[in-house]
Symmetry: C2
Subunit: 448 residues, 2 copies
């Protein structure tokens, strides 16, 4: 059913006196679709829809809503309905949600949750935002060493209803230390009388709870895993990260890197379209103002050569072109580097090889562009100007490219995020270098 049709059917079901039609509709559709339709409703209708869904359906739809809509719904839902919803959420969703609630609301809700859930929540909330611990779930399937594979399959069948996945199960010893793993596929293929301890994979790929969440996402992608077990310092199993959470993390991280590359500070929240205007202002103003002062260096560079400019005003014509090329070449190589570092293609130790290659590429690029502009130089200023412009072009493209290449590496060495080597930052630095190079060459040739 198309979302437009679903929206119409849901509106109709809301008008019906009993909840049967609504339950049926919700049962037939993916909660992601219900949430998408609800997001398009106005606030009152959205609330009415959520109120009337059964708790599991409500929780499922709720978990697909954007964070601001979740908060708005939480503020308006009846306390009882909200507590039911929270109880039905998967542990990882629940923690995310609690972390976003105003502290007063969060603590007023905690008593309503049953003991085991409170414990889960307390434990998972203890991991700082951005770590593996904060995105993992504690709903994992466990097997015992002595079970036969037949018993293990039976046990997974029992665990199925409230586990995030039963397709990958984990084997723990008496102290809950992770000693092996088995996929449901491997269990189905093993002889029914074999013991779990005999057929399990002992060399388990795992991640520590306090590592950055991007590490878990990268590991899941690298090894094509359905879930990645999370362990503490004593190798005890504390949770799992599933492939679908890893996908969300990877998308979030790519978006954050994108924003940084464009010169915006950190996390913008879930939506550019709905982010509050003042928040957008705050995220953007820092770099813009900082770069103004960066550009003052370019201005100061120009001021040093005011005599040259006053004598040869024609030089100013080539100024945007030459400093622009320096900045553009820098932005290109910075983008290539930042992304290659984010995907693990390039490491700091490769800098020697990269520098050499970049020198070649930038040299070729500079030569091509020098050729392209020397014609304009010849027409507008004669052979001497053409030579100045061509020489400057080769130099600034090489210098700009090297700045773009080295800045992300240097940031990484200083344990700063290389993605902060934004296009605007690199462009500003390369611009200032371009101004000084151009006017130095021009002054040297024309004035002395």
């Amino acid at each position: 059913m198309k979302r437009e049709t679903l929206a119409a059917s849901l509106r109709e079901a809301l008008e019906a006196p009993d909840a049967a039609t609504l339950d049926e509709l919700a049962g037939e559709h993916h909660p992601a679709d219900i949430a998408a339709v609800a997001a398009g409703f106005d606030e009152a209708d959205r609330l009415r829809l959520l109120q009337r869904l059964s708790p599991p359906e409500r929780a499922a739809a709720f978990s697909y809503l954007d964070a601001p809509l979740q908060l708005a719904a939480a503020r308006s839902l009846a306390r009882g309905a909200l507590a039911e919803t929270i109880a039905e959420l998967a542990p990882d969703e629940r923690v995310d949600f609690f972390n976003r609630l105003p502290p007063a609301v969060a603590s007023s809700l905690t008593p309503a949750l049953v003991h085991a859930e409170r414990e889960d929540l307390r434990r998972l909330r203890a991991y700082p935002e951005g770590t593996v611990g904060a995105v993992m779930t504690s709903d994992y399937a466990v097997l015992m060493l002595a079970q036969t594979t037949g018993e293990a399959i039976e046990s997974l069948r029992t665990q199925a209803p409230d586990r995030e996945t039963i397709y990958q199960a984990y084997v723990v010893d008496g102290e809950r230390r992770l000693v092996g793993t088995l996929s449901l596929r491997e269990l189905l293929l093993a002889p029914a009388s074999a013991r779990v301890g005999e057929v399990m994979i002992e060399d388990v790929i795992a991640v520590a709870a306090d590592e950055p969440r991007s590490v878990a996402a990268a590991r899941i992608a690298e090894y094509d895993l359905i879930a990645l077990p999370v362990i503490d310092d004593s190798w005890r199993l504390v949770g799992i990260v599933t492939y679908d959470d890893a996908m969300d993390v990877a998308e979030d991280e790519a978006t954050e890197d994108f924003h940084k590359a464009g010169g915006t500070l950190g996390d913008l929240g879930p939506s550019f379209r709905t982010a509050p205007i003042l928040q957008l202002y705050r995220k953007r103003v820092f770099w813009l103002v900082l770069l103004v002062f960066g550009n003052v260096f370019s201005g100061a560079g120009i001021a040093r050569f005011e005599d040259t400019i006053a004598a040869y005003v024609g030089l100013v014509f080539f100024l945007p072109l030459l400093i622009g090329s320096s900045g553009n070449a820098g932005a290109q190589s910075a983008t290539l580097m930042v992304r290659a570092m984010a995907t693990g293609d390039v490491h700091v130790r490769d800098w020697g090889q990269l520098l050499l290659r970049e020198l070649f590429v930038a040299g070729l690029l500079g030569a091509t562009m020098a050729f392209a502009v020397s014609g304009i130089g010849l027409v507008r200023g004669g052979p001497q100007i053409a030579a100045i412009v061509a020489g400057t072009m080769v130099t600034v493209v090489v210098v700009g490219s090297l700045i773009g290449l080295l800045l992300p590496l240097a940031l990484n060495r200083l344990r700063l995020d290389p993605a902060t080597a934004s296009a605007p930052l690199v462009t500003s630095i390369a611009d200032a270098a371009g101004v000084v190079i151009y006017l130095s060459i021009a002054t040297h040739v024309l004035v002395t």
Copy 2:
């Protein structure tokens, strides 16, 4: 085992007279690790390692190698060993690999493959690069309407060894039309005597084979699927895309968008570190040279106002600062827009709302920056210059931001990729606008 230790053990096993140690090592380690270690070996050792692995292990490790290493290995491996390897690859991997082989090598290998595999290959290769058809696999698990769930589980057990996944199975009718789906989890929870036709989900989320592959990746992420069925025009099941392939697609697409945003043309291949120098040159030179000519407009703008500049050389000091701010504000809003469009947060129809919000945000940003620079204007040129600089600043930040906002929307309307609204392109356009605005205001105030 750490990769360094694995590398040492593998080297040792290569020296052993028989293959037993090597087989054991390969059995105990993830093929991604074997491939990572092999990539670090020199070419001769890598080849020796691949030659001596058993065909399934060799194919598994091979599929985790980067494309250039795969090609190099294909050129050097004995014809028989290569054919064995290809036969063991998953169909989607096999198609990717064949598509990258030089045509002569590809056609010389085809006869060595058994008939069914040749058919698969022919069919999958028929879908153009970048479509769902080109990334799907034909190794999916199928169930029949009349099977009981007990029989269905038994049938999945039989299909398990050579299916990409058995965790999601597809129900087809006599004409191979997709009529339903069941997860292994749902099968395990259903009563053993129920029929597949009774318990299956009929409202299947699917994708057409000729849609862009990014659509499949987005759908898998949105609905948290393990696999997405691929259908043809008559709703016949032709393949599936699994979550791990979707992760690779999402990463590829994000990388491509990144490169475009940084002003590089299209796909760089798998690695920035190892891409050939001439290829890097070709991908980068297009935008750089194009933008040189874009910057000629800035130069021409300046040339129109040469008299003003000659009379007030001090104005040149503020030139990089003002046009830089215009370009930076434009790069910021273009980045935010491009990413929001890529993740589906923003659609072309939202342009009115976005424009209004951007006007507010850019106005605030411009006012802040005008305040920041008016001090410098006052010190260097007195109140009149300060007023010119502040007025220009507000105008260029607003104009730059709107260019950054509208260019991706316009490209999308013209059915071009909005990611082509690269930072360098937006910066160049905003720069040229900044030059004209600044010198127009200055000429108006100072000269007339």
